[in-house]
């Protein structure tokens, strides 16, 4: 277990290094830079060139990357080309809302998905299972922005029960829990369905496995059998799936923040991409990718702890 953990952590470090290169190259490929965006159409070419020199955009790629990587390691994320302030300020001012949204989603997601997955998996092919499975299959197929529009249309505009936007709730968002209801519902809808389907399949496989049959034959009580033998094995693929849901969650958060005008990281990122504010895009993309990377690490370690067997496979 220790060897696996160390190897897995080392791999994550390599992954993070490679990610920083990929992110840098990808954002460097963006045609046009902040110097061209900053000026209006009357600006002459020499003016743009002067500004580019001033921003340090005319240096060779390797030099800029070395500079940026050095800054990253020392905790300096660079200076926003549009606002002029440090990028870390953009990040810290927007990360709270996004983290709160994601954390609350995961808090509700795991128990809900496990409950639904076990319920349907233990009664596979019963009427309950068929109804719930049909619902989850349909919900996984509805894009989150469509779901968001429909819910806003019904609960905010028609019935007027819940607020439809975060505009006007600048700094006091944490005092207004009703703001979270619709975004959370949309974020949960798809992720719960995807995850519970995974757990359902894992439960069915574990229930029919040889060791479960043997344990039942030996007289292990059903509750103990379920919690000690079936659930960990059923949850192992679910944990992997949870890490992958992280990616969906990020995408979902992006859409949700756009629909509800949430002042979060994703909104800041979309704005930065549109403004060609390369340092901000780089820092935010790398931060989000690093979170995904660490989520994958955590999922692999937890999965290894739950069902320690993959070591044998090459």
């Amino acid at each position: 277990m220790l060897r696996y953990t160390l190897r897995r952590c080392g791999w994550t470090v390599v992954q993070l290094g490679a990610l920083s290169v990929i992110v840098f190259l990808l954002t460097d490929l963006l045609p046009g830079d902040a110097a061209t965006v900053d000026f209006n159409e009357q600006a002459g070419l020499d003016q743009v060139a002067r500004l580019r020199e001033q921003m340090g955009l005319d240096r060779p790629l390797a030099e800029r990357f070395a500079d940026w990587a050095h800054g990253l390691l020392t905790g300096d994320l660079g200076t926003s080309l549009v606002g002029g302030g440090p990028v870390s300020e953009v990040l810290s001012s927007s990360v709270g809302v996004t983290a709160a949204l994601a954390a609350m989603t995961i808090l509700f997601l795991v128990p809900l998905a496990v409950a639904v997955g076990l319920l349907t998996g233990l009664r596979a092919d019963s009427r309950t299972d068929r109804v719930i499975s049909a619902v989850t299959l349909t919900l996984t197929s509805v894009p989150d922005f469509v779901l968001a529009l429909l819910l806003v249309g019904l609960f905010a505009l028609r019935l007027g029960w819940l607020p439809s936007t975060w505009v006007g709730a600048d700094d006091v968002w944490w005092q207004r829990p009703e703001l979270f209801v619709l975004p959370l519902t949309v974020l949960l809808a798809r992720t719960v369905c995807v995850l519970s389907r995974q757990i359902r399949a894992g439960t069915i496989t574990a229930l029919h496995a040889g060791y479960t049959v043997q344990a039942r034959r030996l007289g292990v009580p059903p509750a103990r059998l379920l919690l000690w033998h079936v659930l960990p094995n059923a949850a192992a693929p679910g944990v992997q799936e949870l890490a992958r849901t992280g990616d969906q969650l990020l995408g979902g958060v992006l859409v949700i923040e756009a629909v509800f005008a949430v002042p979060g990281t994703a909104t800041a990122l979309v704005e930065a991409v549109q403004n060609r504010d390369v340092p901000t895009v780089q820092a935010l993309t790398l931060a989000l990718a690093a979170v995904a990377c660490l989520l994958n690490l955590a999922a692999d370690l937890v999965g290894q702890r739950l069902a320690p067997r993959t070591e044998v496979l090459r």
Binding site: L26, V146, L157
Partner: protein, 276 residues
């Protein structure tokens, strides 16, 4: 077992039926509609020669919807086809390689791409190349390759270490024949089911990027763009939002049902193999 088989069969036909409408719209639509859709009506009008009304620019919604399917579904389908081809090749090659070093060399670099947040990459590419469909398709394909390669490698390893492959090897069959004849065939249902689920999520991602205004031009007839552009008028002119949404949802539900049916068939085959 019989009831399960019948239900599975129903799921596959149901999926195919649901797919019929959006796929027909996407394939036939561009042939029967003009490339430049005229803005000949009042904005958000209902009726008056427009069966589904008009959008904010006064364009006919029915024409828009028929025209927009090709980009909404085509980009995602092309991307997934490309990803399955490249990822499958990589996964099979890695599983077939006898040396662990070669296996690592093939699969590790691909795994580096796995934690890249997909919507972010698509939005950067979408903005950078002004939503050029080819660039977006390539980005979606690149994002899907790692997962496909990993999955198919695992499935191929499963089949390559099974008793059938062992028996073939003992009989002196050539490695190429075992790989393409037995392992390739054993992997096929997994690959098909996975591709089905992947098409669904690729359609989502592309549509979401377009919805956010990070993909195609805001006047393009793409379903995601039309939904985003007409969302303010949900109660004034519901069809402008509902028609493209309905087609999108029909497509993803259909694809998921098909993939589900295929996976169930695979699981059932395994069950019969283990409990003779």
């Amino acid at each position: 077992m019989r009831r399960g088989a019948r239900r599975r069969h129903r799921r596959v036909t149901g999926g195919a039926l649901l797919l019929a409408l959006p796929v027909t719209a996407a394939v036939v639509g561009p042939l029967v509609t003009p490339a430049d859709i005229p803005s000949d009506g009042p904005p958000y009008a209902l009726g008056g020669g427009h069966p589904l009304g008009t959008d904010a620019l006064g364009r006919d919604v029915l024409t828009l919807v028929l025209r927009g399917g090709a980009s909404a579904l085509g980009v995602a389908c092309t991307a997934v086809a490309l990803a399955v081809a490249v990822g499958g090749l990589l996964g099979l090659a890695a599983a077939a390689s006898r040396s662990r070093r070669l296996d690592d060399l093939l699969i590790r670099p691909v795994e580096l791409l796995l934690p890249l947040p997909s919507l972010l990459v698509i939005s950067v590419v979408g903005v950078g190349w002004r939503g050029h469909p080819v660039a977006v398709a390539l980005a979606v394909a690149a994002l899907n390759v790692p997962a496909v390669a990993r999955l198919l490698r695992a499935a191929a390893l499963d089949a390559a270490s099974g008793p059938v492959a062992e028996a073939l090897r003992l009989q002196g069959e050539s490695p190429a024949r075992i790989l393409f004849g037995h392992v390739g065939r054993a992997v096929l249902p997994v690959a098909a089911a996975d591709a089905g689920a992947r098409v669904g999520s690729a359609v989502f991602t592309v549509a979401a990027a377009n919805f956010l205004g990070l993909g195609l031009d805001p006047t393009s007839p793409d379903w995601g763009v039309v939904i985003a552009a007409s969302r303010e008028a949900l109660f004034v002119q519901p069809w402008a939002v509902c028609a493209p949404t309905l087609l999108l949802v029909l497509f993803t539900v259909g694809v998921n049902l098909l993939a589900d049916g295929l996976l169930a068939a695979k699981a059932e085959g395994k069950a019969t193999a283990w409990n003779p």
